[in-house]
Every structure is written in structure tokens, then in C-alpha cells.
Symmetry: C2
Subunit: 377 residues, 2 copies
């Protein structure tokens, strides 16, 4: 999955230390795939997946909107050329002073999932549009969502009614089927619940207009995943079935699906060792680990494709670990990887599909190691 541009960059520049190289051409293709597959849907790129200024500027130019998690992300989106009406403050957990500042910057679309958050927004951003996030079961997602975000549909009614009563624009409903979601039926289940909220509130005189379909669009790691077009079809069918001829405005928030496949991490083998002579598995230690950008290997959730220059040689099972003095810094142990038996100290490895949730997850300086460098080309 490393593009020729990425391979050429690595060959020409030979950057030292672990680094992410991200190909903007792939981001562009991914954006256009979403836009083509879902022409009636506004795309809000989830900035948290990778906030590199070059990515934000490209997407702003292509017409994308932006889903932001914090005031700094709002400022980055604005700096990249997005206008405030193309920015959603999508975190349901916001300080009131950050809401006020976002409102001052012109942002007028906010996520909520509790009455307390509605009260803050009514005070700090009067008249703003709010959408309420509902809980979904996350079934089928590889990086499942906890109950952290959203509330049950009955409470969403209360939250949106309060927003209406406090002079806010009760605008819609959002859900998130879970990151790296591969079961198409997940969207259909969530749309059914959402349509019920629309109907109930309409009976009470409140007209919602927007469904935020969230993210969850997968990047291809080791397993094949359904195409964007198949997602789009499943969603269109769900909308038609549950909303009939009153199809609402829709938005999506791809993050991983937009940038995951665009990036490759170059790393180096620091050590290959056994713990005892009779071990059948080697330990392969890389110069990047859980605290250097690969946090999503937590519980071995995301399994990145890993390639080496010796992939034609015979392979054998390895535990793969990072370079820090932290025993939790092991990437894959329960399900070992097969890597070339000839792999040795100093060899370069490529960790593919690493464009999302890597640079920003890196720790400031754990064990003294610098954060992951990134080259956006």
C-alpha cells in the first residue's frame, strides 16, 4: 500500500529515525471516493485522525467541512482555509469558555449528549445548532466504542427538547457505529432509532433536519473491507426505509477512512532476540512502539500490514515490541506476526496504512524518544 511517491521519497531522502510519510494524492482520491459515492452528503473530515496542515489545506480546497474535537482543532481548520460554517464542534465534552470562543469565531454547529451541555451552549453560543448523539451498540467495530459518547434515544428527546426551549436550534441526531466498522447492518439499526426520534419530536412541534452518520468507515489493514460505495448503498437503503420521502440532510465524519491508507511509517529493527534457547518465537524490537505513535495496537486492535526488504525469504512467527523500557510497549504478542527469518538489526520495515491516529497519539518524550516525525508529500 506504500505508493510509488512514498517509496521514492524514502529512497531519495533516507530520513533518519522512525517517520510517517503521507501521500496527499491518496487523501485526494479518498475524498473524491466519498464525495462521488455520497453526493448528497456533506463530508466533515475528523481532524483528530491527522491534523497535518497540508491535509487540512487540501481538504478545505476540495470543499470538505471539518469535524473538530477542541478549540485548537477549530483554529487549525480555520487556518487551513475553512470558513466557520464548515466547522462542527463535534466533541460532546466541552468547557463553556471553549464553546464561547468557538461561537466568537463563528462556529455554529455543536454536538451534545446531555442536558448540562445544552445549558452551556445556550449560555455561551445562543441560537446555535445542536445535534444530539445517541448510543449505538458498536457491534462489528474493530475499535469498539464504549458508552462514553451518546445517550439513549429517550434521553435524546429530552436533550433536544431542552435545546429548543432554551432558544437553540434543535438540528438533528448523530451516531457513530464504531471505528473500523465492517458490518453494513450497523448503519441500518442506528437509522431506525434516529427516524423514531425525528417522528416523536415532530409530533411535539420540533422539526429536526439533519442526520450525522458519524465515521467508522474503515481503512484496509490486513483484512479486506467493503468499499465506500457499498456503505453508501446500505445507508441510502436505510434512509429510504426509515425516512420514506422525507430524507433528511446528512453528514459523515470520516477520519481513518480519509487518511489511514495514505500514510506509511518507516521504522528500523533495533534488536532480534530470544528469551531462551528453545523459544519458537523471536522478539523483534522496532524503533517505534505504543508510545511513539502506534497506540492503536492497544489490545492488538489494529493490525497494520508490515513489509520488509526480505519478504521473499522464509517467514516465522515474531512478537513485535517497541523500543521503550516499558513492558506494556509490546505491539503484537497474543497473535504473532510472520516475518522473514533473516530479519536482522538495522533492517528497515514499513508499517502500512498508518496515516490515521499515529502522529498525534505519539507521546511528548516518553523514555526520551522524540515524537513521530511526519512528512506530508
Amino acid at each position: 500500500m506504500a505508493t510509488q511517491r512514498i517509496l521514492d521519497f524514502l529512497a531519495d531522502r533516507r530520513p533518519d529515525g522512525p517517520c510517517l510519510v503521507l501521500d496527499l494524492d491518496v487523501v485526494r482520491q479518498n475524498y473524491l471516493s466519498f464525495a462521488r459515492a455520497m453526493p448528497a452528503t456533506r463530508i466533515f473530515y475528523a481532524v483528530k485522525a491527522n491534523p497535518a496542515p497540508e491535509i487540512l489545506a487540501l481538504l478545505a480546497e476540495l470543499g470538505s467541512s471539518f469535524d473538530t474535537a477542541s478549540l485548537p482543532e477549530i483554529e487549525m481548520a480555520l487556518a487551513a482555509g475553512a470558513t466557520p460554517e464548515r466547522i462542527s464542534f463535534g466533541n460532546t465534552i466541552k468547557k463553556e469558555r471553549d464553546i464561547a470562543r468557538a461561537h466568537h469565531l463563528g462556529v455554529s454547529l455543536f454536538a451534545v449528549d446531555s442536558t448540562q451541555e445544552v445549558e452551556k451552549i445556550a449560555r455561551a453560543a445562543p441560537g446555535a445548532k445542536v445535534f444530539c448523539r445517541i448510543l449505538t451498540d458498536g457491534q462489528g467495530a474493530e475499535w469498539p466504542l464504549s458508552r462514553k459518547f451518546g445517550c439513549v434515544p429517550e434521553m435524546a428527546l429530552e436533550v433536544l427538547e431542552l435545546a429548543h426551549r432554551l432558544g437553540l436550534h434543535a438540528y438533528g441526531v448523530s451516531f457513530h457505529v464504531g471505528s473500523q466498522q465492517t458490518q453494513l447492518a450497523a448503519w441500518e439499526r442506528a437509522l431506525e432509532q434516529t427516524a423514531r426520534i425525528f417522528r416523536t419530536l415532530a409530533e411535539r412541534g420540533i422539526t429536526l433536519s439533519m442526520v450525522n452518520l458519524g465515521g467508522g468507515f474503515p481503512a484496509r489493514y490486513l483484512k479486506d473491507v467493503p468499499s465506500v460505495a457499498r456503505y453508501s448503498n446500505a445507508i441510502q437503503r436505510g434512509l429510504a426505509k426509515h425516512f420514506g420521502n422525507a430524507i433528511p440532510e446528512t453528514i459523515i465524519e470520516p477520519g481513518r477512512g480519509m487518511v489511514g491508507s495514505a500514510g506509511v511509517i518507516k521504522a528500523e529493527v533495533v534488536l532480534v532476540a530470544k528469551k531462551q534457547a528453545e523459544d519458537d518465537k523471536r522478539w523483534v524490537f522496532l524503533d517505534i512502539g505504543k508510545f511513539g505513535g502506534l497506540a492503536e495496537t492497544m489490545e492488538e486492535a489494529i493490525r497494520y500490514p508490515i513489509t520488509t526488504t526480505r519478504d521473499k525469504d522464509e517467514k516465522g512467527p515474531c512478537v513485535i515490541a517497541g523500543p521503550t523500557c516499558d513492558s506494556a510497549d509490546v505491539l503484537y504478542e497474543k497473535t504473532p506476526y510472520d516475518l522473514p527469518i533473516t530479519l536482522t538489526v538495522g533492517d528497515e520495515v514499513l508499517i502500512e496504512a498508518a496515516g490515521a491516529y499515529t502522529t498525534t497519539y505519539a507521546s511528548v518524550a516518553f523514555n526520551g524518544f522524540a515524537p513521530l516525525k511526519a512528512f506530508v508529500i
Copy 2:
């Protein structure tokens, strides 16, 4: 556990945002406790626990040595006033060019646990002292060690013999009983294995001289822990029992035990919400979470004491979560905390015993949030 100096600092300065405030007086007391309890043992502070320059300078002045995980940590220790012979390059996973650079800076003590690492050191730091880390079971530790570091004792013989053959100084054996270790018997078991390695190598003409007892000395979080003196007694008994009248040189590598109790994180309640009307637990969202410095809440391993200004009020169970749009950013859910029922948005909370493994674990900018600020006073 917040000292009066920390409380005064917070009251006077009222710093914005989440921040760590660390009291150097406590670090000094902790150092002196170790030094008094184990007068014959050299103390190597594990820099990774908290590399704040003020901490390193204080410890250098007090006579501490330093256990480092990387070249940048070596440079920080030198900058703080440590001489090279007081620095151990304690990571068993090192790039050969980093070994060469450390050697060039005058560092001459290196950790190993594999023959490949010995070969690198023989090439890049000829004549250096090496100690071999052995695997221990980690039983009784709250943040248990995986098999990432160390090798079985039989392999340690091979590793140290190779070091001797390649002209290095086969210097000793290290082990680590697991971080936050509260079972005193863990040291005794490891010392028995170590003594056997000393004897076997002596029979082969190689005289080891040092036992690195590692870290694992606990900080007090919610539960009481044995005192440093009790650890010291257990270790002395173990040494006497297994080494008889040939007690080796010993070193310890406290990190958490040196700085954990010295720091307090000030945080703010951003939201208190329920997911459905009938929930018996509230969700309390703070402005700091797993990616802002509290990574050690992973699997709810470390349970920090949390105090609020309303602690006299009635308490009830809470899930505690961080401020990011990441569903994994939940601190305590399986075993909820009891916090005051009156706790509300804007309230300040103190997360105590947070001086170790917080500032450096913080992510660069996940969700746009700045890394944890620190004030060392």
C-alpha cells in the same frame, strides 16, 4: 498527599488547564529515605519516571546516579550535572549508533539481555561494563512486566560469557520484580536465581560483582504499601541468605518510588452526565484523560487518589473519563470511584501521587489538546 507548598502554589497562581505541580521537597525526602534505608546501595534514579530538569539537578546534587532509557535521557542527566560514571544506559534495546554516542560521552555501564546486544556493545563501546537482565515472574506487581525484558538464567550465562569473550567487563545481573511491587518475597526469589548465576560463572572463571535490584518500589496510591525500610530488610536478608559472606555491590533504580508521591495533577470537571434517566452511575468528564498524561490508568492499573473541594458531601459512584473524542479515553469504569454527588461542571479536582509517568506519557496533541503542563516547585 498534596503538600502545603503545592496547595499554596495552586491557590496563589491558579494555573489554567490541567497541570502537574511537583514538590521537590518530597523528592528530596524520598531520596534520603532510600539512601538511609540502603546505605551500601547506589541509587540510580529511573529518569523515564519524570525527567524534569529540576528533579535531575536536585538528585545529581544529592549524589544520585541515573538509569537512562535513551540517548536524550543521557544528555539530560549530563546537563543536570551528573558525571558519565554515574549514568547507566539501562535499556536492553539500543541502536548501535546510540551505544557509540553514549560511549563517546563517557558512559560505560550498559544493560543487555541478548547475545546480539552484547555484540553491538563490543563493537561500539569496547571494554564497557555490561549487566544481563533476567526474567522474573512479576507476581504481585500492579503494573506487571511482560516477558519483554530479560532472558532466562541459562541464557544469561551465555550472554555474560560472550561479553567476557568479546573483551567486555561481565559486570553483573539485573532483574525487575515489577512496578509497584508489594510482595517482599519477590526480591528473595530473584536473588536466589542471581546468586546461582554468580556461582556458575565463577566456576567458569568469570567474576561478577554487581546485582542491579531494579525498581518496583511502590508509591502509595489508594492502598497502603510497605515502607522502604521493610524492602531494604527483605533485600538484605535475601542477599545474606544467597550470597553468604560475599555480598556483591548493589544498585537500585527507583522511579515511581522517588517521584510518584511528589506530584499532584490539578484538573477540572468539564461535564457530569447520565446516559439514561435510570442510570445509577454518573459519568464525570475531566479535562485530563488517558492521552493527556494518565496513560497508567490503562486497564485501571493505577488508581490515583482523587480529592475534590466537596469531599464532605455525600458520595456516589462515578465513571471517570477524559475529554477527548476517543472512546478508549475512559479512566475508571470497571471499578467506579465514589465522588461527591454535588460535584459539578467547573469544579477543581486533585489527582494525587501523580508525579511519575504522567508528563512524558502525554500525547503531543491528541484531539488538539496541549500536553500536560508541569510546575516543579
